[in-house]
Symmetry: none
Subunit: 358 residues, 4 copies
Amino acid sequence: MSDAQVVKLEFDPKNMPFRRLGLSGLRVPLFSLGGWLTLGGTVVGDPVKDIIKTAFDAGINMFDTAEAYAAGKSELEMGRVIKELGLRRTDLIITTKLFWGLRKGPNDGGLSRKHIIEGTQESLARLGLDYVDVIFAHRPDNTVPMEEVVRAFNYVIEKGWAFYWATSEWSAREIEEAYHVADKLGLIGPIAEQCQHNMFHRERPEQEYEPLYKKYGLGTTVWSPLASGLLTGKYNEGIPPNSRLATEPMFKSTVKSLQQDEGKEKIRKVRELTKLAHEELQTTPAALALAWLAKNPNTSTVILGATSPEQVTENLKALEVLPKLTDEILEKIERILGNKPAPPPTYGRPSLDRFGRL
Amino acid sequence: MSDAQVVKLEFDPKNMPFRRLGLSGLRVPLFSLGGWLTLGGTVVGDPVKDIIKTAFDAGINMFDTAEAYAAGKSELEMGRVIKELGLRRTDLIITTKLFWGLRKGPNDGGLSRKHIIEGTQESLARLGLDYVDVIFAHRPDNTVPMEEVVRAFNYVIEKGWAFYWATSEWSAREIEEAYHVADKLGLIGPIAEQCQHNMFHRERPEQEYEPLYKKYGLGTTVWSPLASGLLTGKYNEGIPPNSRLATEPMFKSTVKSLQQDEGKEKIRKVRELTKLAHEELQTTPAALALAWLAKNPNTSTVILGATSPEQVTENLKALEVLPKLTDEILEKIERILGNKPAPPPTYGRPSLDRFGRL
Amino acid sequence: MSDAQVVKLEFDPKNMPFRRLGLSGLRVPLFSLGGWLTLGGTVVGDPVKDIIKTAFDAGINMFDTAEAYAAGKSELEMGRVIKELGLRRTDLIITTKLFWGLRKGPNDGGLSRKHIIEGTQESLARLGLDYVDVIFAHRPDNTVPMEEVVRAFNYVIEKGWAFYWATSEWSAREIEEAYHVADKLGLIGPIAEQCQHNMFHRERPEQEYEPLYKKYGLGTTVWSPLASGLLTGKYNEGIPPNSRLATEPMFKSTVKSLQQDEGKEKIRKVRELTKLAHEELQTTPAALALAWLAKNPNTSTVILGATSPEQVTENLKALEVLPKLTDEILEKIERILGNKPAPPPTYGRPSLDRFGRL
Amino acid sequence: MSDAQVVKLEFDPKNMPFRRLGLSGLRVPLFSLGGWLTLGGTVVGDPVKDIIKTAFDAGINMFDTAEAYAAGKSELEMGRVIKELGLRRTDLIITTKLFWGLRKGPNDGGLSRKHIIEGTQESLARLGLDYVDVIFAHRPDNTVPMEEVVRAFNYVIEKGWAFYWATSEWSAREIEEAYHVADKLGLIGPIAEQCQHNMFHRERPEQEYEPLYKKYGLGTTVWSPLASGLLTGKYNEGIPPNSRLATEPMFKSTVKSLQQDEGKEKIRKVRELTKLAHEELQTTPAALALAWLAKNPNTSTVILGATSPEQVTENLKALEVLPKLTDEILEKIERILGNKPAPPPTYGRPSLDRFGRL
C-alpha cells in the first residue's frame, strides 16, 4: 500500500458489535487493536499502517497503546499512521497508559501527580493528538495516596486531555478505593479495568471483580486474550525455535513454566480445545478463545495484537464463532478447562438469582 | 378454629419464593396479604384470624395495612390476630401506610413531619407493635417540601419504629426527587413503591418506573393485581348484583366504565384470557393474572386481598402457574391484551441490549 | 438585499417583551426564531438573510439551531448570515443542540462526554462562533449516566463554549435527575427545556413539568407552537397538495392521523378557533395560537419557524393579540379544546391555593 | 468450684500485654477466649465457669461469642457464667457476632437491617447484658447494600447496644467499601476484622489486608490460631480416634485433606516446628504457633479456644515464648513453612522502605 492510496476514510462499523465501556457513554468495538510488543516494537513503518488500515476497515476503530510500549515508539508509530491515513479523530477511540516512564529518574513513572500530568503531555506529544479517549493507570502505585491519583486523573480530564480514565491490573480493593475517593470528593472515578483475561487466567476477572461489575458497572478491556499465543495451539507440539516465546527474553519464565507439570497440563488442554474448535465449530483454537472472552458480558473489548494485517483478519473470525457458542459448547469448554472460579460464597444463607429472587 | 387451637407457629416458607424488596436486605414472599377493604372492613373477628393463619401456613409472612384502611380497624384487627396467633415478630413482615389520617383536621394527614411522626405512633399503637418493617407514604404530598418528608421518614427509622420506608402511587419524578434529597443529605431513601399493577394498568409500573428499576433497583409491592376482581372473570357475564362492584359505592365509576366501550373491550379480553387459562394452562384467569405479575422481575411481592381462607388458597394457585408461563404463553397474553407499553425511545440512536451491547 | 445594504445593526427590542430564561439571568425575547426544517434546509442563501434581518429588526434577537438541522447546514447558514449582517455578538442569543451527530459511527451522537465535547466544537466551527448562549441536549440519552452528561455540559460551559445548558424533550424525571446530579456535585444544572407545546400537545408542558416550574423555576423554549401548521387553519379545508404536510415524507404519519377520527376532531376544533380568532379578536388563528402560548407564564420563548420574512411579521401579530386574551377568551378556548390537563391530584386532602393557603 | 467460692473479682491484667483494637481506643488483651465449638457446645455447666475464671485470673478479660455458636447456647452459657462469677461489666470486653440466625426464615440471618437490629436484641437477651463491646458481622452479605449494613451497625451503636462494630471474614474490597460508605455518610466504620490466621493460613491476613493495616489501621482478632489443632502437633503421628478432628463431622474435609499430599506436607512441617519448639525454645509447638501470631504487629488479639482451664494456662505459655522470637528464629520458621506471602508488587518501580524512603 503506497501513500497514494491513502484516502480520508469513513468509519463503517460493519458487523462489528459495540459495547459501552463500563457504564460510560463511550461505545467500544468488541475487538480492538493493541500496540503491546508489536506496533512500534517488532513491527515498524509501512506494516504498521497496513495493520491499522485493515483493522479500521474491519470495524476496529479503537487503538490501545502506552507510554511504555516500545519505550514510546508505539505511541509515535500509532500517531504517525493515524495522521497518514487521514482518519477523522471523532471516528477513533485512542487509549494510552501511564506508569513506566521512559527515563529512569525517581519521579519518572508511577502515579504521582507529577508523572500523571507530565506523562500525559508527553504521550499526547508522541501521539500528535490533543486528547486521548481513555487514559489508563497502567498499574497501581501504593506509594502514592489514592486521593493524589484520582485528583491527577481528574485534572487530566478537566484539561481536556482525556475523556475518561481507567485502571490496569489493579486489585478489587484498589478500584474500590478509587471509587471511594472519587465519590467522596465529587470527582470522576475510573470507568474500566484493563485486565489480563484468558482461558488460563480467570480468577481476577471472573471472581475478584465480580462485585465491581455488579455495583459500579466496571468495564474491562482484556489483554493477553490468547495467553501469549498459547491458546492459538502453536505450541501444541513444542515451542518452535523462531516463535516469540523462544526468542523474546521476557518470556523466558513462560517457556520454563510450559516445560513443568502445570505447563504440560495447559498444553494438553489446548490440544483438546483445538480438537473442539476444529471438529465442532470448524474454526481455529485462537478464534474460539477470543470468542469465548467476547461472549462474557463483562468484557467490554478484547484487545488483539497483530504483526500483520492477515493476523487481524484471522483473529476477527472470532466474530463468526460468537453465535455458535451455545450453552452446550460453553459447558464442554468448562469441562476441558476445569478451572472455573467458584461463585461468591453465600455461607449457608439462601442465595438469590439475578433478579434478587431466592 | 377455636382459641384452643392457637399454637406458637414456626414459620416455614415451604414453596413460597422470596425476593429482595428492591435492593434492600429484606426478603419478601412473592405473594403477601393486604388488608385493604377486607381485613377489619368487610371481614372482622375470627374470620380474620382464619385468613391470616391460612396465609402464614402457606408461606405468606408479609401483611400490609394502612392507617386509612377501615379507618384504623384494619390495623387493630391485624395487631390483635398476630398476638392471638402467637406469631413471632421476627418471622413476620408488617407494613403500614400513612397519608389519610383518621380525623379531619388540616394537620391530620398528608406527609408533614407532624403527621408522619404522630401518625406512625398511632399506627403502632393500633397494631400493638414496637415497629413495622416498612412504612409507606400512601400518596405523594406536593404541599410538603420533599426534604421534610425524607427527614421525617428517617426520623421514624432512627427511632426504631420502622426498618425501611417506601412510597405508594408516586410519580417517577417524585421518587427521583426523594432519592435526590436523601442522597444529598446522607439520609435513607425509599426502597420500594406500592403501585397499582395489573393487566389493565401497566404504563406506570412497566414504563414510567423503568429507569428507577435500573438506576436505583426500586422494588414494587403490587396492589389491585386483579383489577378490582375484573381479572377473575366474575364479570364476564355482567356484574352480579351482590358483588363488591355492585354494592360498594366507591366502585360506582368502575361499574360505569365497564358499561362503556372501553369497559366492554376489557371484558372481551378477560373472556379470551379465561379461555387461555382454562384450555392451555388448566387454571383460573385469576391465577393466570397473578402469576403474570409474579413473573415480572421488577415485582417484589403481589399483595393479595381475601375475604376467606379459601380465597388465599385459591389465589396461591398462581405459584403453580408461574413455571408454565413460557415465552410463547406470554406472547399470547400480549396479543390478547394489546396494551404493552412502548419501550423507552432511543431517538434513532443505536440502542443497547441488557449487557450494554449494541 | 445586497451585501451593500449590510450595516452594523443596533439592536432595538421595540415592543418585544423579554422574559428570563427560567431562573437564569438571561433575558430572552417572547418570540424567537428557529432553524428547524427551514433555515439551511428548505431555505438557503439570501432568503435566510432576509428572514433573519426581518426578525432582528422586529426585536427577535434569539436564534435557535441544532447540529442535526439540515445535517449541519442550518448552523452553517445561520453563522454565515450573522457574519454577513454584521450583527454584534452581544446583541444576539444563539442556541444550538446536540444529540444526532452528522456521521453514523457508534460514538457520533448521543450524550456521551466524547460527543458533547467533540460535537460542541464542531457546531461552533460551523457557526463560526466562539460560543453559543445556550447549548441543549436535543434528547435524553438513557445509555449514558446522568453524571457524565452533567459533567460534560459543565465542561463545555467552563471552557467558555456556552453560557448555559438546557434540555429538550426530557421527561420530568430525567430533568429532576439532572438537578440531582448537578446539586450533589456542585455543578451547573439545566435552566430550561425545549419542549413541544401547542393547543394539541399539552400534557407534558402543562402537567408533567408543573412541579419543575414551581420547584426549580424551569424555563421553556417552545417548539412546534402551531402543531406543524395545523393551528394556522391552512388544513381546515383539507391538505393542500403543495403544503409541507403533503410534500415532506417525515409528516406522512401526521397526514394519516389527520384523516382519522382524532385528526378530524382536531380540524373541527381549529375551525372553531378560526371563527373565534376572526370574529372576536380580529386576528388569525395562528396569531391566536401563538399568543395563547405566550400568555402562559411558564413559557420563556416561543420559537417561530419561517420560510419568508413575511411569515415572521405575520406571526408577530401574536404580540397584538396577547393583551386581548382575557379570562373570558381563555375560557372559551378551553371549551373549544376540551383537553386541559388535570391539575395534580390532592387525594382528598384539602388543597392549597398558589400562595399556600387552604 | 461451688457458688460459695464466687467472689467479686477485681481484674488484674498481670503480665498480659494489651493492644489497641485497630485504631480504636479499646485496649484488648493479646490473648482472648472464644466460645466457638467449646463453650455452650462441647463444654457446658460448671466447666465453663472454671475455664472463664481461669482465663480472667490470668489476665484474659475479653470473651468472644456469636449468635450461631452452639445455636445460641454459647451466649447463654457465657452470660450465665459472667453473672455467677460476679465479674464487673467494666472489667470485661464481650464481643458477639451476627449472621447465622437461629431460625430458618428468609429474614432470619444475614446482614439486613431487620436481622442486625432484631438479632442484636436477641443476642443481648441471651447474654443477659445491656451491651457488648464489639459486635461483628460474622460474614459479608453481598445481598444487602453496604449502606444498609453500615447504617444498621451504627444504629446498634447509637442505641447503646455496642461500643464498636467489626467484620469477620470479609474481603479487603468489602472492608474498603464499608469504610467508603461510613466515610461518605459520616458514620462509624468497622475497627477490626476477625480473620482466620495461622501458620498455614496466611495470604489474606498477611497480604490481602496489608493496605488496610497501613491506610486505616485495621485491627485483627485472630481465630483458628492453631489450625484446628494441627499446630499443637497432636496429629504428628496420625489423627487420634477420639480427637475433635476424628469425631466432629464438620472437620471431615480437613481430615481428608490431611491424608492427601498437601496435608502430609503440612504435618511434615509441624514435625519440624515441634523440633524447633522443643530444642531451641524449650516450649510446645502450640505455644510457638500462638507466639508467632502475637509477634505480628497487625494482630490485636489471638482468640484461644479451650475445653479445660488447663488448656488456657497451657496456651498462655505463648507469652513466655514471645520475647524469644528473635529475627533468627523467625527466619528459621519461615524456612520451615516456605509459604510467606509475597509483598505487594512494585512493578519495577523503585520501592520504598517503611519510612517512605527509596
